[in-house]
């Protein structure tokens, strides 16, 4: 088992209990998704006022809800196309809220450079999701590039807990740009292969 695989396995123990509890209490998965988003907005507020450790703690709670909603839907056989759509839209809402919290903080501190870096990281994070969604309306799969949502969320937490948010924003920004480029290249290549001789 790899290092990151072992961490994932350890984290799954308490999450299984929470999934079982949600199933017993018959909580609808879409409600769990919404609760996760609302908690993430609180985390954004904590980032905006510079309380990073608090923000990190709130993000953990928010992302527990975000993680278990799909599993609860599966267990209760409530999975639906709308549920998937709702989950994706709420994920973007959560992500953008966190970035806006940081933009507010850096604007308050008069740090235009980090306002721009955070805005760029936000733009390419949204484009990471958009390029995949748009590509998969034309090709079967477009799962290339490193910086997806789970990586972004874990990095946000690491930045918050260890007070290294600037470095985290650089990593998210640069790797999101690379991920978007990967997805554009991969989609172009797959479409070119599917339609040889015609420009993609």
């Amino acid at each position: 088992m790899t290092f990151t695989g072992a961490i994932g396995a350890v984290c799954m123990f308490p999450l299984r209990a929470l999934i079982a509890l949600s199933v017993v209490l018959r909580v609808h998965p879409n409600v769990l998704t919404l609760i996760g988003v609302l908690i993430n907005v609180l985390a954004a507020w904590a980032l905006a006022v510079g309380r990073f450790t608090l923000a990190g703690g709130i993000m953990i709670v928010a992302n527990i809800f975000d993680f278990i909603d799909g599993k609860v839907a599966e267990r209760r056989q409530l999975g639906s196309d709308f549920g998937g759509f709702w989950d994706s839209v709420m994920d973007r809402f959560s992500d953008i809220s966190l970035f806006i919290g940081l933009i507010y903080l850096y604007a308050q501190l008069g740090r235009t450079d980090y306002v721009v870096i955070t805005a760029l990281a936000m733009m390419f994070s949204v484009l990471t999701s958009y390029t995949r969604a748009r590509a998969e309306s034309m090709i079967e799969k477009c799962k290339v590039g490193f910086m997806e949502r789970p990586e972004r969320i874990v990095l946000f937490m690491i930045g918050a807990f260890t007070n290294r948010m600037a470095a985290v924003l650089w990593v998210i920004g640069v790797l999101s740009i690379v991920t978007v480029a990967d997805r554009i290249f991969y989609t172009w290549r797959e479409l070119s292969r599917a339609q040889p001789g015609t420009p993609a």
Partner: protein
Amino acid sequence: MTLSRQLALPLVVLWNALFWTYDRATWQYDLMVIAILAFVWLTPPAWLGDPMAAGPGLLGWLDALLG
């Protein structure tokens, strides 16, 4: 012959790191995570002009200790 085979080894490594196709929980993923964590935790915040971080970071601390 694929593009990767046409390139020299360092370029292949660079290409594979940039054009990322590996799954999570692979050794390549772990290596990338270690590289990211090293950047986040070792880079002195002053180098990045971090407006919030306190302290010099591990590299800055070592630099002060050795210098």
